[in-house]
Symmetry: C2
Subunit: 295 residues, 2 copies
């Protein structure tokens, strides 16, 4: 296993343990919503966002227990967004990470509540004392995550994505959409270590820039997988964008140009890390990984 694969596996296992700890099941009938939250957040996924939080935290010698809580909060927000995006009224996807989507496994109402529960819990985790001894840091994390996940970020991006099903977007509009829908949370994740470590603004901005470029590279790779991957490899429905006649980076640029654009963005992401030494090597490696991945 490469250093990157090993580190990603380790981070994923640590996040899994932490989610398990933070979502302990109660005895009452509300247990069902916990089952759904756990189903959709435990045991699967690349855990890319938590990995970025953990790695950016290493740059500033942030205590691992603090980094891990912030990483877990981001992953909870990511999992909530997948649950809601998969709903019949949204993208109507039955398959997620190789398993039935939350609303298929449980039911729509439970899935809506499980998403709501994960989102709410994530902010509670960030704001709790264990996440950082300095409440200013905790407040900043909450504020930055709310900005990235909210209507100016992820929620707004998903809104535009739904509109894009009936209104054709040009490349500029698609870039903006993806920046909001995926990029802002990845940028938050890459920046989280700098917030936790109270790093100076230029270093925060560098990590933010890295996250944004990485996010766009990641999304183009996702579009390529939707065209070239198989359901078994990717673990979710593929070919949906083409079937829907939806404009994507690939439909506009074509496969070859999209691929070279993704690689360019990965280079650009790495270029933001110029101020960091070898400690940032795994952040560099993951930028390569997101464009070359097969799932």
């Amino acid at each position: 296993m490469s250093d990157l694969a090993g580190a990603m596996t380790d981070a994923a296992a640590a996040v899994d343990k932490q989610i398990d700890r933070l979502l302990q099941m109660p005895d009452g009938p509300e247990r069902r919503v916990y089952e759904a939250m756990r189903y959709s957040s435990l045991g699967t996924g690349k855990r890319l966002r938590p990995f970025l939080v953990m790695q950016s935290s290493r740059l500033f010698a942030v205590a691992e227990s603090c980094a891990l809580r912030a990483a877990t909060a981001v992953e909870m927000v990511h999992c909530y967004s997948l649950i809601h995006d998969d709903l019949p009224a949204m993208d109507d996807s039955d398959l997620r990470r190789g398993q039935p989507s939350c609303h298929v496994k449980f039911d729509e109402a439970t899935a809506i509540l499980a998403g709501d529960g994960l989102l709410t819990r994530a902010f509670g985790v960030l704001a709790a004392e264990h996440t950082h001894s300095d409440p200013a840091v905790r407040s900043e994390l909450v504020q930055a995550l709310a900005e990235a996940a909210g209507p100016r970020g992820m929620v707004g991006g998903q809104m535009i994505d739904l509109i894009a099903e009936t209104t054709p977007l040009d490349i500029g509009a698609i870039t903006r959409l993806q920046r909001m829908k995926t990029g802002d949370i990845l940028a938050f994740s890459a920046q989280a270590g700098a917030i936790l470590g109270k790093a100076p603004a230029p270093l925060r901005d560098a990590l933010r820039g890295y996250g944004h470029d990485l996010g766009l590279a990641f999304q183009i790779a996702d579009d390529l997988l939707d065209v070239e991957g198989t359901e078994a490899e990717v673990g979710k429905s593929v070919g949906r964008d083409v079937a829907a006649g939806k404009a994507t980076f690939v439909s506009i640029l074509g496969v070859e140009r999209a691929r070279s654009q993704a690689r360019l963005l990965a280079d650009q992401a790495i270029a933001h890390l110029v101020h960091f030494d070898g400690k940032a090597d795994l952040l560099r490696a993951v930028a390569r990984f997101v464009v070359e991945r097969r799932s």
Copy 2:
């Protein structure tokens, strides 16, 4: 107009202005989710939760601008919960506050996103510097609201409420359900002023107790309105619980005992305020109001 009615109207107007300010519409196509968020949060509603935040803040001489931001955040969370509860997969209500529900006015996907957006934005508002100069206070607000709104509170309560449609609950289980679904947020609202004012623990606990009893009284009154009110008065669908054969305080206790129980709880709520002088008179008055209201 009574002092209470006047104060509630003033608070509602101030909250409205604040929501308008916090949900300024962008130019991009994500504007649609803002339209839905604004539709479901502006201009209507009793604004009971913000009123509790404002009044409890007065007890500790909290700056009004701070109290208003916290009040608005709580109302955003309340409005998100109404949007999601009304969805076809949940309570399937077409009418809310005398208007078409969000998913009827827009569509289901937009309504889901509008709820997500309001919830996320609420935490961002609480965590922002304008809400309080002390970040420890902001973190505490975020943590307490996440607890009250999350799977141990409101989200868990709504889960149990859905289960109650097919599994009969006894009076103890209904009390627990309503405590989670409505009581925890009302208790947070009543306690918010004490958090903002850094009040000693016994005073916080008193306000928390007040909010919990008020919440239960409020819910019993709601059940009574579902039986006795008309749609035009109440502004939402009525008679639904009876039609669904769902156990409520009224179906178990009967109308008369339910009404006297609500009044008892209002007395009990007021009894928690014994340590406060005339400044708490509007909190006392609102406890009477929630059980006697006709909408």
